[in-house]
């Protein structure tokens, strides 16, 4: 591990945080344009975060320390998880000590904390949101793990950098298990990021909320931190899909400034494309009934499982 590798790691860590609000801004802008609206500036999420940070944080009287601490812990775990996903360059030094399973665990921790925070104040909406979130999580988490197992088995590693490198190499090719894992990962991403058809990030209908219901009691800097964490999470999932399934253009460690520039450009284009596809899908579909969501996430779990089994079978028969 060289000095420059750490520099790149630091740059990526800062970048994911800096770019995440822009990604939300871009998705909102695309959505607005698809709905024939002008839409706010893509920079609006930055203004919103700044506004929230400056505002007073109103905390319920019966809130415990957990309610205050949870936003920062959620933000920290999500940010660290995002820093582990290669964005414009692979071979991250942090990636060597923390593989994709750690990412899943970190996100699980963040979710656990958020659900606890939703329950903490004792309002019915927080409880409603937390219970729905846990219902969804009980299928989304194993589905994510199954997809990860498929990838790891395929590439022979749980390191994202290695998986990414393997995908570029001659060993990889069109593979049914990979396709299944991709679909599973996309479904999980939609669910985990509270997008339509699982949840609606733009809703004001408190009874239909999942993610928003849990953070309904938050305001000021707490809300800012949670909003930032949500934006980082979306970036994380899109980067993860980009890094594993479209590894082209990503710079390898120590490749030089030009390669990094190309990597950066490639990453930005991949994110923009994925964001567009995501919003396109969201616009064309209505939200599901709450009890349909487990079926939807169950599909992801089954696909992940199927991917793993098919890989085993093909290994054995070879």
């Amino acid at each position: 591990m060289s000095y420059s590798d750490w520099l790149i790691q630091l740059a990526q860590t800062a970048l994911v945080l800096g770019v995440a609000p822009l990604l939300s801004g871009v998705t909102r802008k695309i959505r607005a344009r698809l709905l024939r609206r002008q839409g706010a500036s893509v920079l609006q999420p930055y203004h919103d975060l700044l506004k929230l940070i400056r505002k007073e944080a109103v905390v319920a009287e019966n809130a415990s320390w957990l309610f205050r601490a949870a936003p920062y812990l959620i933000f920290a775990t999500t940010w660290v998880a995002a820093a582990l996903v290669p964005t414009f360059a692979s071979g991250l030094p942090l990636g060597a000590v923390a593989d994709i399973i750690v990412i899943v665990a970190l996100l699980g921790t963040a979710r656990f904390l958020l659900a606890l925070a939703g329950l903490d104040v004792g309002t019915s909406f927080g409880g409603l949101g937390s219970s729905r979130e846990m219902l969804f999580a009980s299928l989304a988490e194993p589905a994510m793990l199954m997809a990860v197992f498929t990838l790891s088995l395929f590439a022979g590693s749980t390191q994202l950098s290695s998986i990414s490198a393997y995908m570029l190499g001659p060993g990889a090719g069109i593979n049914i298990s990979l396709a299944l894992a991709l679909v599973a990962l996309i479904i999980v991403s939609i669910g985990e990021n509270a997008r339509i058809p699982v949840d609606n990030p733009a809703t004001h209908l408190e009874l239909t909320m999942v993610h928003e219901a849990m953070i309904l009691e938050y305001s000021g800097r707490h809300l800012a931190v949670l909003e930032a964490a949500a934006a980082v999470k979306l970036l994380l999932y899109l980067s993860l899909i980009a890094c594993v399934f479209t590894p082209w253009g990503t710079a390898v460690a120590g490749a030089g400034v030009l390669a990094y520039a190309v990597g950066l450009l490639a990453w930005a284009m991949k994110l923009a494309l994925l964001a567009f596809l995501l919003v396109l899908f969201e616009t064309a579909i209505a939200k599901m009934r709450v009890f349909r969501v487990p079926e939807f996430l169950g599909i992801a779990l089954m696909l992940g499982l199927l991917g793993t089994i098919l890989l085993f079978v093909s290994r054995v028969s070879r």
């Binding site: 959505r31 698809l34 709905l35 024939r36 609206r37 019915s124 909406f125 409880g127 409603l128 219970s131 339509i196 058809p197 609606n200 733009a202 809703t203 004001h204 209908l205 408190e206 009874l207 239909t208 909320m209 309904l216 616009t283 064309a284 579909i285 209505a286 939200k287 599901m288 009934r289 709450v290 009890f291 349909r292």
Partner: protein, 503 residues
């Protein structure tokens, strides 16, 4: 049936529009029996100083009639034990007038939340306001039941209302509404006003139905004073009413879809609604056509440019709306949300005399324009859109069909608009007080209006009953057994008015 009920009652009073018969307590109970048997529909019930009045409709003969009962003793028999839909109406009359309804199963106050400066504000001598005991919500007990309290302050910018859900996990066991937060004292404000002032107030009872309210008030006053506006005015009123219906139905179809997070419909319907409002502004000088209908006629004539604007609107709707209907029909994810959600049984719809699209989506084929026709609909009838499923999807479909019917009606009527003046002067008032009542079909359902005019053409008592009075209780029934997350969708498919209900 109606005539037989009132055979032994006193003589009819000076009540126009339809007759009003003063009855005694025994006949009042007989009315209750007839309501229980489903032979009559209760369209409205309200208090007056020393009296209670109700409006009855007999579906078999399409007859409509008012009955009133002396309440000077302060006590009257309640209709609610016979006919549950009367409950909230009687509770409100009790809050406003201090009339005691004996046998009322649910004596809790309804409109009065204990925050008014006076109690019984419409009674002859109101009492100073007093704090009321805490409102007791109906009990629902059982293992694993929990309560969810929503509102009156909501996460979105909507009118205030409180909803108390008792749920078992996600399944709603009971919903209880608590309304009255937007009580503005309109009944009181109307008392003593001149006809012109009162017309402006009536137009503001529920902003989305401003044409319907202006129309029902104007028709009640015109009935009381026994004069007819010029023919052209009658047609222009109906043109406005149909435009209001189209605009609101378009908004609703989009909003129902938006509550299922299908924003595309919302955006596209929003564009069409905006086109409609702009055509209204061109034709009548106001986007919502507020204060355009006045007693005696209409305030603005429709110029050729206005006719052209409306016809270009209908052409545009004919081009674009069918595509949206197709989109609604072909989006499986949307159909999955609306079909089978929030079912109102046809029995309940009939019992509550469910107005408008809610009733017609549950097989109650009542439309004031057709069943108790008023001009110009008696000369140019419309089709009635009825479905039997009673779910959110059926309520959307009734709206879709009504939009289509209204478009056709507008096109036919604009071609044959009579010429002439659009407003006639109001005649001098006789010395005694005169009463009039009217029923018109607003976009949400039938709006009932009653006005009593006294000396100097001042309003003595005016009551405007929003269709929401009969719709809100049905929402409680519709949502039972559904999941909590489906409530907003179901609520939007009803789209009840808070302002019109709370008065």
């Amino acid at each position: 049936m109606l005539e037989a009920l009132f055979a032994d009652s006193g003589p009819d009073v000076a009540h126009r529009g339809w007759p009003r018969t003063p009855v005694g307590p025994d006949s009042w109970r007989a009315i209750g029996e007839a309501l229980r048997e489903g032979k009559l529909d209760l369209l409205g019930l309200w208090g007056d100083i020393g009296a209670v009045q109700c409006v009855l409709y007999e579906p078999a003969t399409r007859q409509i009639m008012s009955a009133s009962l002396d309440a000077r003793a302060g006590k009257v028999p309640s209709l609610a034990p016979f006919h549950p839909p009367a409950s909230r109406l009687e509770r409100s009359a009790s809050d406003l007038f201090g009339i005691e309804f004996t046998g009322l199963p649910d004596p809790r106050p309804w409109l009065d939340h204990g925050r008014w400066p006076v109690q019984h504000p419409l009674a002859e001598s109101p009492r100073p306001g007093a704090a009321l005991p805490p409102y007791r919500f109906l009990e629902a007990e059982g293992p694993s039941l929990h309560q969810i309290a929503v509102g009156p302050v909501h996460a979105g910018i909507i009118e205030p209302g409180h909803f108390r859900f008792t749920a078992s996990g996600e399944t709603i066991v009971r919903l209880e509404e608590r309304l009255g937060y937007t009580h503005k004292g309109i009944d009181r404000l109307l008392c003593g006003k001149s006809i012109e002032e009162a017309a402006r107030l009536a137009a503001r009872v529920s902003g989305d139905s401003t044409v319907a309210y202006s129309l029902v008030f104007a028709r009640a006053v015109e009935a009381a004073l026994e004069f007819d506006p010029p023919p052209r005015a009658l047609w222009l009123r109906a043109v406005m009413a149909e435009l209001e219906r189209i605009a609101n139905h378009l908004g609703d179809v989009g909003a129902v879809c938006n509550d299922a997070a299908f924003s595309m419909m919302h955006a596209e319907c929003g564009i069409l609604r905006e086109q409609t409002l702009r055509a209204c502004a061109t034709a009548f000088g106001h986007r919502l056509m507020m204060d355009c209908v006045v007693p005696g006629g209409v305030a603005v004539d429709l110029e050729p440019a206005g006719v052209a604007a409306i016809l270009s609107l209908t052409a545009s709707l004919r081009g674009q709306f069918p595509e949206l209907v197709e989109l609604y029909e072909n989006t499986a994810s949307l159909q999955d949300r609306t079909v089978g959600t929030g079912v109102v049984s046809s029995a309940l719809a009939a019992q509550f005399a469910a107005p408008g699209y809610v009733g017609r989506a549950s097989g109650r084929s009542f439309d004031a324009r057709i069943c108790v026709p008023y001009p110009p609909y008696d000369a140019a009838p419309l089709e009635i859109a009825v479905r039997s499923e009673g779910d959110v999807d059926a309520r959307v479909w009734v709206r879709i069909q009504e939009i289509q019917h209204s478009i056709g009606w507008l096109e036919r009527s604009l071609a044959t608009l009579p010429a002439g003046p659009v407003r006639s002067g109001i005649r001098a008032v006789p010395a005694t007080s005169v009463e009039g009542a009217a029923l018109v079909e607003g976009f949400r359902g039938d709006v009932l209006g009653y006005a009593r005019l006294g000396a100097g053409r001042r309003i003595e008592r005016c009551h405007l009953r929003d269709p929401s009075w009969l719709l809100w209780p049905l929402l409680e029934a519709a949502i039972e057994g559904n999941i909590v997350a489906d409530f907003p969708l179901c609520n939007k498919s009803f789209n009840c008015s808070y302002s019109g209900h709370d008065l």
